[in-house]
């Protein structure tokens, strides 16, 4: 186990080194002379030399990479070459938390939505509700995130009335399906507790719907408010729509994976035996079916983090959030190569470390994998 862990760490470090080396080599791909392509025509010879110095173009690739890595380890990524000249390190430390907050928020939102929905649709697989939700999820994975961002803006910001009506309609439909459930269940023996539970659910849905529609917050069309600037409430308000956009896609992916997985698990003998013992359906679901399925969810969520890092770049552009994506996209447009290089390297490293963590979690979650390597 320890040996295996060590191999993983070594492998991770190797990948981090090679990935950052890859970003150094980016400059080599620039067609023609880098410095003159950055400066354009009409630059003086001094400017030209200064830029070559700043980009370390005179050095060999290994020493260029060595220099860059040496600085990067101490948080010194050099200066941007496009005015206003700033420390790249400080740019990134200002931007990275924004991107991470949106990505984490999106991840939480999607898990929060996907897990209960997956349990419900798997339990009622083939029913009308399942078809509706699964169909919606299949549609949602086909919507590019910049398009869903525009949809979210269109409805939530431009037409909040229609959005509220939609939320209310969904609430009414859920309550209606619970009521229909009662009427049908009247023909079968029904426990008092089950009745109380569904009544509580109905009341909760009603209260939630009313609350959301009544207290519908005004979300900003663009920009991002830091906690330190505007407090938690406006911070969350400004991060919510970008996160919601990402969560639409992300939750659909999780839902599909988890639902398929749960349906397979529900078919297995140990679940049947739990049902035969007379455990209530929701306990069978939570205790016996969900746990074996959580593994694939961890994997998918791990891969999902990559999607989120990519996705934040897009939604940052749509919502004008000044995060990493916005930084990199602007740097590309202005050919600010030190910023591009550092930004790409930082995101890639975050991603590599994240994947390694998923790997470790995976090993600990699955007793079969654990047993094999003890």
């Amino acid at each position: 186990m320890i040996r295996r862990g060590a191999i993983k760490v070594v492998r991770m470090i190797a990948i981090v080194l090679l990935v950052t080396l890859g970003t150094t080599l980016l400059l080599e791909l620039v067609p023609g002379d880098v410095a003159s392509s950055v400066l354009g025509e009409g630059a003086t010879a001094e400017q030209y030399e200064a830029l070559r110095e700043e980009l370390r173009l005179d050095q060999s690739i290994p020493s260029r990479y060595g220099d860059w890595l040496g600085g990067a380890v101490t948080g010194d990524f050099g200066k941007s070459i496009v005015p206003p000249v700033t420390e790249v390190g400080s740019l990134i430390s200002a931007r990275l938390p924004v991107t991470i907050e949106i990505a984490v928020l999106a991840m939480l939102l999607s898990l929060f939505a996907a897990i209960p929905l997956a349990m419900w649709t798997a339990y009622r697989a083939g029913g009308a509700g399942d078809k509706l939700v699964s169909g919606f999820a299949f549609g949602a994975i086909s919507v590019p995130s910049f398009l869903s961002a525009l949809l979210v803006i269109f409805f939530v910001i431009f037409h909040p009335g229609a959005t509220k009506a939609l939320i209310a309609a969904v609430g009414v439909m859920v309550v209606a399906s619970i009521v229909v459930g009662w009427i049908k269940a009247d023909r079968r023996p029904h426990s008092r507790r089950a009745w109380a539970r569904s009544a509580a659910a109905a009341v909760a849905v009603v209260v939630l719907t009313v609350l959301v529609v009544w207290q519908f917050p005004a979300f900003p069309r663009q920009g991002f408010v830091r906690i330190t600037e505007g407090g938690l409430a406006s911070n969350l308000r400004s991060a919510f729509l970008p996160a919601l956009t990402l969560a639409l896609l992300e939750a659909s992916v999780y839902l599909r994976v988890l639902r398929a997985d749960l349906i397979t698990t529900l078919d297995e003998d140990f679940v049947l035996s739990a049902e035969a013992k007379g455990l209530p359906a929701w306990r069978v679901m939570a205790r016996h079916a969900l746990r074996p399925s959580s593994l694939s969810l961890v994997t998918v969520a791990g891969v999902g983090f990559a999607r989120l890092l990519g996705g934040t770049i897009i939604v940052e552009a749509v919502f004008n959030v000044r995060g990493m994506g916005d930084l990199i996209v602007n740097a590309i447009q202005t050919k600010d190569y030190p910023v591009v290089q550092a930004g790409v390297a930082v995101l890639a490293v975050v991603f590599v470390v994240m994947n390694a963590l998923v790997d470790v979690t995976y090993t600990y979650l699955d007793p079969r994998i654990r047993a094999r390597h003890v």
Partner: protein, 337 residues
């Protein structure tokens, strides 16, 4: 009650749904002109959904067996969009490329399916349908080209890795892992950062993304196929390695790769659209779905068709590819037993 009466009743309900859906679409698009789009769009969407369900049920009742209406429509859509993209130069489209030719065309015309501008016009009076069709060209060339290159290189590498095993496999897998270590969109951004955004370069960039994916897929499939006894049987018959790969392994790996290709084309089309939305891919005046949407978003509060026209086409294409890919992979994975 006999089967016939049940069927007739079902058919009636289905036709009713179809008619109601169609009516909703019509009311939403033609009658509710003065109502804001925020209200019209849901009406149209519900109408479309209702019409689709009605069509599905009606066909089921008529043909007496279930057909997958979404799949059929997806295939039809893909055929249509490929044909339109291929024949764009010969179609009677209004001017959609040169703004200097559209000075007398009103800008931001609302979509009207029975006019010269079925999807309306954009900020410069250019025809949106024409732009969308020329955009489809870029999307399809880029998506299919990248997938072709990726499947060729990655698929070959994966089959070699899975068949040879040992050191070759370790090296190839490590290279693939290295490429997969970058978040894909960020790798793509890094590549377009230094390359001129042209159809060729974007295709190459996307191909680089797809190579490691195909490599892993082909390797895993090859490992599974190579274990099958027919490969052993062919070896006993005296087949050399090359014959084993060409006639036993490749034919059984290929369907899996092809089925996945539909989904990957969809992913890459989205990636290209995202890039051109960010202004980092092919730029105006060459229309792409992404740059049309980006141009339209300035005024899309009042003119939502500027965004949602190309947006719906993009969505339908991606949806159709996903649907066909899902059907292909479920069919072929069942055949593999």
């Amino acid at each position: 009650m006999s089967d016939a009466t049940i069927d007739r009743k079902r058919l009636a309900i289905a036709v009713l749904a179809l008619v109601a859906g169609g009516a909703a679409v019509w009311v939403g698009s033609a009658l509710l002109v003065d109502v804001t789009a925020g209200w019209r769009v849901p009406v149209i969407l519900v109408g479309i959904a209702l019409a689709l369900i009605g069509l599905d049920r009606a066909l089921t009742a008529l043909l007496r067996r279930r057909i997958q209406i979404a799949l059929v429509l997806s295939v039809a859509w893909l055929v249509a969009i490929v044909a339109a993209a291929a024949l764009a130069d010969f179609l009677p489209l209004s001017e959609s490329l040169r703004p200097d030719q559209t000075l007398d065309v009103p800008a931001r015309l609302r979509p009207d399916l029975f006019s010269a501008h079925p999807l309306g016009t954009d900020n410069q009076g250019l025809d949106i349908l024409g732009g969308v069709i020329y955009g489809a060209r870029v999307s399809l060339i880029v998506g299919c080209g990248a997938v072709l290159i990726g499947a060729l290189i990655g698929g070959l590498g994966g089959i070699i890795a899975g068949f040879k095993r040992g050191r070759t496999e370790s090296v190839l897998l490590f290279l693939a892992d290295l490429l997969l270590a970058f978040p894909p969109l960020i790798l793509l951004l890094a590549m377009v950062a230094v390359l001129e955004p042209s159809v060729r370069n974007v295709t190459l960039g996307l191909a680089v993304l797809s190579v490691p994916i195909y490599l892993r897929l082909a390797r895993a499939t090859t490992l599974a196929v190579a274990k099958r006894e027919y490969v052993l049987a062919a070896r006993v018959l005296g087949a050399r390695n090359r014959r084993l790969v060409v006639s036993e392994i490749v034919p059984n790996v290929l369907p899996v790769v092809i089925a996945y290709s539909f989904v990957l084309v969809a992913v890459l089309i989205v990636a290209e659209a995202s890039l051109s939305y960010l202004g980092l891919s092919i730029k105006r005046p060459n229309p792409t779905w992404g740059n049309m949407i980006a141009a339209g978003q300035e005024s899309f509060n009042r003119h939502p068709h500027l965004v949602f026209g190309p947006g719906i086409i993009l969505f339908l294409t991606v949806f159709a590819l996903n649907r066909v890919g899902e059907a292909a992979s479920s069919k072929w994975s069942r055949r593999r037993r």
